[in-house]
Subunit: 99 residues, 2 copies
Amino acid sequence: MTDERAAEELHRLRSSIDNLDAALVHLLAERFRCTQEVGMLKARSGMPPADPTRESYQIKRLRALADESGLDPQFAEKFLALIIDEVIRNHESIKRAGH
Amino acid sequence: MTDERAAEELHRLRSSIDNLDAALVHLLAERFRCTQEVGMLKARSGMPPADPTRESYQIKRLRALADESGLDPQFAEKFLALIIDEVIRNHESIKRAGH
């Protein structure tokens, strides 16, 4: 492959990556709207922010989805841990704010 | 809100979160297909795995997207750092494998 051809191919792949990133960020934003609603609902109803049963269900499910879709399962777990950590901190801040 | 009503509402929100998670995992899997191709292309063409110019472009872009979509920018950066770290390790392993 010539350098020019390689540069073109790299540009094409990066355009796809940029499109996927835009989709990912928008889906993550929508996910956070949902988890914020969950946080407010839990605070209003006196439910605890963390829910180990729900979290273990999510971890198992995401692991299966990652497996099925060809995503590295270790990455999927790191991603999930990042999300869950954020969600718990969000719920705790909503609880502290007394909503 | 009654406990029953709160439980129903929680169930509804969690169904949306589960749908979004499935979409996120599939998009991440597609993203990794692209970055694996980038890794192989770079290894074949003798380009270095990491590309600071591209990464700073991506960080700036994702920050703007996060801002526009209402996603917490700090979370967006942690997410991006996770992705970039994975991509670089992936490129390095492709390079080591001598593709």
